[in-house]
């Protein structure tokens, strides 16, 4: 017996290595018809790793104090060997993370991946999305630029809108009566330790829950319904080597665009690294236009569209919370958009346009005309969810095949 095989057996007698490998990778059966939309789960995992690794290296030289945070980042950019590469990888990764996660979520909507028996996979996923937004929010304060400071000031003050406990709550979160170095210190702890631990834990649960029920697929039919003599789904293939090798090619394409931005357009036209953040935070100077980064703008738009602060906050919270109940709003007889009718497809298209519209408006300064559009798009956004129990029933669906098509 070779030394390697001997070592493997020694470990396997003490740790379920081979069984775990087989159950989750080598003999884990996945539908054979995964398409473009199915790359984004593994890409999300890749970007999570990129963020953690670059984050660790940034933490080696970043100083979370009011007078040194901004200059420590310039130090990383200029004096630390390849520090600029690590910093740009982290900023590009932050935007890439949301792009990839939004596409991953959209796949779920397209193919009904949130439907029974995958409701819990979806719910854990929405928790990950929430955790990701918190992680991004905490992280954005750390450069201690003008936009970092004032963005945090605006969002933490939103908690003040809650009746009775609002102001105390906002002070509790900030650690001070206004965003200050105290806030910076605790957001550093949240961003570097608390949220990453929560996210990694949730991602683990997300994958475990998925593997219990198996993946959905673009046809929305259950491959476990038809098995061969060995008990393997007829329309399934083992994850390894088929999807490991396919995801590897997906990683290559993704990294090409990732590096194109990192090396040639790291500021992303002012959307990935915002211009006002090239100036250290000044509590006495308010920027003319305060907005979060592009990936949070759809929800910021909904907040801003409503004139009342408390109702605006509640609407923004509702716009995210509504994702949790999606599995129960969809009353259609089919899972996948391939077999839905024109009614559903039209409504989904309008929803997508509204989401983009809200996102775009969130990057601009509000005017009366823009606010009107934001209100219109917000109504469409909520209508997509609230009306779903009805229009998914009214929708004229097509017959669903027994076996997977291509």
């Amino acid at each position: 017996m070779s030394k390697a095989k001997g070592l493997l057996n020694w470990i396997d007698a003490r740790f379920p290595l081979i069984k775990t490998w087989n159950d989750h990778i080598g003999q884990y059966y996945t539908p054979k018809n995964f398409n473009f939309w199915y790359f984004f789960g593994s890409l999300s995992l890749l970007v999570l790793v990129i963020q953690i690794v670059t984050g660790i290296w940034l933490t080696m030289n970043y100083v979370p104090s009011g007078d040194r945070a901004f200059s420590s980042i310039e130090y990383i950019m200029r004096d630390v060997d390849m520090g600029w590469l690590i910093r740009y990888a982290h900023t590009t990764g932050a935007s890439a993370f949301f792009l990839v996660v939004y596409l991953h979520m959209f796949r779920g909507i397209l193919y009904g991946s949130y439907r029974k028996p995958r409701e819990l996979v979806w719910i854990i996923g929405v928790f990950i999305f929430l955790a990701l937004m918190a992680e991004a929010f905490f992280g954005y304060l750390l450069p201690w630029g003008q936009m970092s400071f004032w963005g945090a000031q605006v969002i933490t003050s939103l908690f003040g809108a809650i009746p009775f406990v609002g102001n105390e709550l906002a002070t509790f979160i900030r650690g001070d009566f206004t965003v200050s170095e105290v806030t910076l210190n605790r957001f550093f702890a949240f961003h570097v330790i608390m949220m990453p631990l929560i996210i990694v834990g949730l991602v683990f649960l997300h994958i475990v829950a998925l593997h219990k029920v198996g993946s959905n697929n673009p046809d929305g039919i259950e491959i476990k319904a038809h098995k061969d003599a060995n008990g393997h789904p007829l329309d399934g293939i083992p994850f390894h080597p088929y999807y490991t090798v396919k995801d590897l090619w997906g990683v290559g394409v993704f990294l090409f665009f990732f590096c194109l931005i990192l090396f040639f357009f790291p500021e992303g036209g002012g959307y990935f690294i915002e211009k006002p953040n090239f100036e250290p935070a000044d509590p006495l100077k308010t920027p003319t236009h305060i907005a979060p980064l592009w990936y949070l703008t759809p929800f910021y738009s909904i907040l801003r569209a409503i004139p009342d602060k408390l109702i605006g906050v509640m609407a923004m919270a509702a716009s995210i919370a509504v994702f949790f109940v999606l599995p129960w709003l969809d009353r259609g007889p089919v899972k996948s958009i391939r077999y839905r009718g024109t009614l559903y497809k039209t409504i989904l298209a309008i929803f997508v346009v509204s989401f983009f519209g809200l996102g775009y408006l969130g990057t601009l300064e509000p005017t009366p005309g823009r606010t009107l559009f934001a209100q219109l798009f917000s109504i469409i956004y909520f209508a997509f969810f609230i009306m779903m129990p009805w229009y998914t029933k009214w929708d004229k669906t097509k017959p669903v095949p027994e076996r997977i098509t291509k």
Partner: protein, 263 residues
């Protein structure tokens, strides 16, 4: 003499304030000037820009994230082996320090500066990334004579600036070009004078072309200080992307080979 500056400032504020309250007041629109294309590879331009910066700007403005040693290497103040010519740096560019590894700090005390100008002159290392190259170029070329302003000058791109016209002797004086606009208000309408441009009024020590070249060099230099690693980054990027193209091609071929089994 010590308290004259704040006194001038105060009295000018009073004068300015009373003019603003008047019925016919001169407001200013912001105009964008387009700068020529910056060239970080033009080391001669960067050297001139460094020279101009140290001579005209470094009295008030710091470049606190820029080290002399890195500057020397990047703009070519080195010998044939690539070693920094320390003596040249110390004689020509280093006025506040004798350690070439130090950063370009400013001698002016921040509190003094705030008292004298109303606002401390900002550090300029990242200015071109903060406001854009066009803004900085426009700012430096559109000072005009304004008897109501504290230093006797105002600026087309940044109206109400607290900065004096440092390069005024070189550019010569400029006068504003006004446009009268009628603004409808609740009680009736008022005539508003907008500054929409500047025109040369008196010659300076440099010709217009020489001055524009000088400002270009300064802005090119500042655009370098904002992102000194740009050239290295883009050069490395070419190799990284090339590698990824080849890697992805092979990854695809591998995938295709494995997936031949799947029907």
């Amino acid at each position: 003499m010590q308290h004259l500056l704040p006194k001038i400032l105060l009295s000018s504020m009073v004068v300015l304030g009373s003019i603003v309250l008047g019925v016919a007041h001169a407001a200013q629109s912001t105009v964008t000037i387009e700068a020529p294309e910056m060239n970080p590879n033009d080391k001669m331009s960067l050297q001139r820009g460094a020279k101009y910066f140290m001579n005209y700007c470094s009295g008030c403005h710091s470049l606190e994230y820029m080290r002399f040693s890195r500057l020397a290497k990047d703009i070519g103040i080195t010998d044939a082996q690539g070693n920094i010519l320390e003596e040249v740096m110390k004689k020509d560019l280093m006025f506040n320090t004798d350690k070439v590894g130090n950063t370009l700090s400013v001698a002016m005390d921040k509190n003094d500066a705030k008292e004298w100008f109303g606002v401390a002159p900002p550090d300029l290392t990242l200015e071109t990334r903060l406001r854009g190259v066009d803004w900085v170029y426009g700012f430096l070329t559109t000072f005009f004579v304004d008897p109501n302003a504290p230093w006797g000058v105002n600026n087309l791109v940044y109206p109400g600036t607290a900065m004096p016209n440092i390069l005024g002797a070189l550019q010569g004086d400029q006068q504003p070009i006004y446009q009268t606009e009628t603004v409808e208000m609740e009680g009736g309408s008022i005539q508003q004078q907008l500054v929409i441009g500047v025109k040369p009024a008196k010659n300076g020590l440099l010709s217009p072309q020489e001055f524009d070249q000088m400002v270009y060099d300064i802005v090119n230099f500042l655009s370098y200080t904002a992102d000194p690693g740009k050239i290295e980054r883009q050069q490395l990027g070419v190799f990284v992307l090339l590698f990824l193209v080849i890697f992805t091609l092979f990854a695809y071929l591998l995938k295709r080979e494995y997936w031949k089994d799947v029907h």
